[in-house]
Each structure stands twice: as C-alpha cells, then as structure tokens.
Amino acid sequence: MTAKARHPLSINQEKCQGCVHCLVSCPTKAIRIKNGKAHLINELCIDCGACIRYCPHGAIESQTTSFSDLNAFQYKVAIPTTVLFGQFDNTVLPNDILFALRRIGFDQVYELSSVCELTNAALEEYLRDHPQPRPLIASTCPVVVRLIQRRFPSLCNHIVPIEPPREIAAKILRANLSRVLKIPPAGIGIIHITPCPAKMVSINYPASLEKSYLDGAISIRDIYKPICQALRRNEDDAILRRLFPETLLSGIGIGTALSGGETRSLKNHRTIAVSGIQDTIRVLNQVEIGLLKDLDLLECMVCPDGCVGGPLVVENRFLAKSRILGLVSTLGDRTVVENSDIDLLIQKDFLSFQHPVKPLDIPPLDADPVQAIRKANQRNDIIKRLPHKDCGACGAPDCRTLADDIVRGEAAITDCPFMSKEEK
C-alpha cells in the first residue's frame, strides 16, 4: 500500500516551503520536515485535514475524485452533503443547487436529509436497545472513527455500529437503481459531494464495511464554481423550481451535519455534542479513564462547528451554519420518512456495520516491553537535554517528538540546531 493510495492528503513538493505551520497544526504529530519538505507519517495521520487549513502556501492537496473521473460511468449519481446548502447566499434555494448539479452532468441527484432522518431514528432505537457501554459514540465523522482506532483503541466498542447517511443512501441506491434503470451495476457511479478529505479515505478504506457503496467523493471546493455557473444559466425555469419543489427536505435531517445535529432529535437521551479536534481528543481522553458514563451518546465532529467547518468547504463556516440553521427553523420537526420504512430497514439489518471497527494501535516504542521501557527512559534523558523551544527547526513539531523520533531511530540529536553546536 503506497502512501498516496492510503491517504487523501499529499504534499505538493514545489509549493512546500518547509515552514512549520503544518507541523504544529497536526493534532496527531504526523508531519515531519525532511530535507526542507513536509512528509506525512501514514500510521499517525487520521485524515483530519487540519494541515490544509494552516498551510499558507496551499501546498497540501487532497486527492478527491475529479470531474473527469466521472466519465467512466454511464449513469452518474450525486449525493451531496447537506453542508452544500449553506455555501450559497440566501436567494439560492436547495432545489436550485440540486438542479445545478444535474445541469453540470449528474443524471440524478439525491438529497441526504431524509436519510439523515432515517439514521437518526435508527440511532435512537439502538440507544434504547443497548444500555451498555456508555457513552456510545456516534460514527458519522470518519476522522473520529480513525482517531478512536488509532489513539483510543479501547473505545472501539463504544462506536455506534450504524453506517453514516452517505453510505446508507448509496447502499439503497445501489440495491435498486440498476434494476429500475436496467443499467449494469458497474455503469452506475455514485459520488458523494464532500466538505472534507476524510470521506475519500472512508470510501477507499472503510472501517466497518468490506467495500464502500460510494464510488468517490468530489470536494465542495472543486464543484463550487461549476455549480455557480450552472445556477444562473437559465433564469426562465426559476419560477418552475420554486413552484414545484421536487425534494421534500427533512427538518430532522437537514441540520445533522452541524455540531449538535444528531443529538438535537434525541430528546429522550442524555447527550453532548463536541466539535473541534482538540476538544474531541480531550473528551475521548475523559471517556478512556472511565468518565462521562452518565451520558448516553457522545457526538464528536473534528471540524469546528461540525461539517460546515470542513477543510474543503468554500463559505466561511459561520455564514454556512447560519444558513443551515435557517433551513432547520423553517422546516421545524418535519419528517419525511415513513415509520414503516424505518422499521423495515432496521429489521433487515440494512443500516448496520458489516463488521465492528477494529483497533489500529499506534505501535509502542518497541514490540518488546523491556526494550520499550529502555527507550522511554532514554527518551526522558534526551528530553532533559533538549532546549524546550519547540521551534520545529529539527523537522519535528516539538522537542518531545524529536526525542521520540530519536529513540525510534528516525532522527538524530544533531537535527536540533541548538544541540549540534553544544555537542560538537
């Protein structure tokens, strides 16, 4: 498995200046500067995209599906994130956006709020039927799942084993479209429109499925301009779109991509909603030492304010959030999914993970605990000698991490510009 295949993030060697912004921004300390360029450590990266946000040179690129990849499919289906509705000003209605997506080449567009409503109902039922363990952790944000696999492996069994709306929507479409349209399954491409690069990893390397039901993910960033161009192309039909809205948005489902969106409808359970990577790590640390047991559900989203704060969105997250909250308040508690459909899908176990999320432990200092202890002691000795400036000049984000790299055999103490003078 090559680095490029595993991660959606890659560093443009020409644009990279070898500065320290990404080093410091990385919550899992997965970046090092070697020979003046940033490099990603695959085993540590959780695909959160924090580095994309902080790189002043635009050198960190996310490998999402490109528009031309769609040509491989005879019939192209888009499943846009509900965050897309917050990217345009208030005069642009959700239906306008769905229409624009069709004009730019999708044969069909399926809006996700109804499936969000469906998964929320399934979540409520799961919480009711499973009193243990507590707190359960919602699994919609793929970075949270990856973070738990790597940093909090003992919490894997706290993850609610219900697939996220994008996968369920694709699964339903995959099960039916080929038959209805009489097109072979391979000819149908189902593409998510995503606010973050992590969805691409969850498609290529799903944590709880044998194979993703999605064929790819196009970033909001990449599709924004084509949508803008397609929005205004034909004003004549605007009145038609307004008078005959073809999609019934779900009030319960429309806000689920915002932090607090999943917990909002769970009125009978004790829940909290956390957003932002640092706060998510802080709260998961608390759960791991046995706290927060009185909560039923912990909703974590690593982007600030939820998916509206994703690294691949266009609009600033405050505006996007306010627009989506506008939709939420207009729609109220409107439901669009039949209870009988929810019951049927739950009964058929259609919404569940195919297999549990497995731990992907970060390797200890050494496979042999005796050696690991020896290295940990060595590391403490090295830390004492380092200048504690955390300047990043050695290529590691801070002195402690440099000491860690040294005992793991991946760096030398002379990498520290302050040390080399002293030592030589």
Partner: protein, 147 residues
C-alpha cells in the same frame, strides 16, 4: 525475565486546580500505552490514577505522582501534603465522602473514589497522617504477570 528494567517518571499535581484535573493521569495512560503494556491493565491504572489525582486536587495543597512500570507491573505512588484521612476504613466505603457542596456541584464527591481505586488495582496501600498528608501506593499487575 529482566526484572531490573523500570520506567520511572514523576508528575506534579497542584491542589485546587480543577481546570487541569485529569491531565496527569492522561499522560500516565499515554506513557503506559507507549510502553506496549496490555490495554486492559493500562486502562485500570489510568482509572485508578485519575481518582487519586482528583483526590489530591480536591483535598490537598500539592501532590506528586510517582509512576514506575516494568513489563510485569505498574506501580503508582501518590503522595500529597493535605489534611490526611481520619478513618481510612470508613473512607474506603462506597458512598462515603467528605466532599463540600461546591465539589459536589462540580460532579465530584460521590464517595466512589477510593472504592473505585480498590476495584482497579491489584494491591493498594494507604497511609495517612492527620494534618500532614496521604500516601497511596497502587499496583496494577499486567496480564503477563498471571500464569
């Protein structure tokens, strides 16, 4: 088995600093993970040291957590300068607490601390002197220890 090899690190705990409550036990947990010790033992040690850390923060002026780990066992000694425990046997009872209403408002003081420590350790020794302080010695055996 090499019994000589020990990892050792000390941490300062500031009494009354609720805002940093849990930071030390979190670091203990992460260090133990890095040593490759079995996850269930790490978790037990982390839970026990969190309870002990919070006791220092709630009642004492200052404390030191002294962690030592071998492949076979995790030993954590927490020593504080604080009021001491008057009746250790009574304090061990589930539900017994001397927490003030303020502490209870913060969600502490359910009287589960020491009994939770006992549940998550294989050896526990408490010595205390009124007006001086308390010393907790907790041992968690790793799974390797058991035959």
């Amino acid at each position: 088995m090499n019994r000589e090899i020990v990892f050792r690190q000390k941490f300062e705990i500031q009494g009354g600093d609720f805002s940093r409550g849990g930071e030390v036990s979190c670091e203990v947990k992460n260090l133990l993970k890095e040593l490759g010790l079995p996850a269930p033992s790490v978790r037990r040690a982390a839970i026990a040291s969190y309870e002990a850390e919070m006791n220092v923060i709630m009642y004492a002026e200052h404390g030191v957590l002294d962690l030592s780990a071998t492949p076979l066992k995790i030993r954590i000694v927490i020593e504080d300068s604080g009021p001491g425990i008057e009746d250790i046997e009574l304090a061990m009872n589930e539900g017994y607490s001397t927490a003030t209403p303020e502490m209870r408002e913060l969600g502490f003081g359910a009287g589960m601390g020491l009994s939770n420590i006992k549940k998550n350790t294989d050896e526990l020794e408490i010595t205390s002197e009124i007006g001086k302080g308390t010393r907790l010695t907790m041992v968690v055996l790793t799974e390797r220890h058991q035959p």
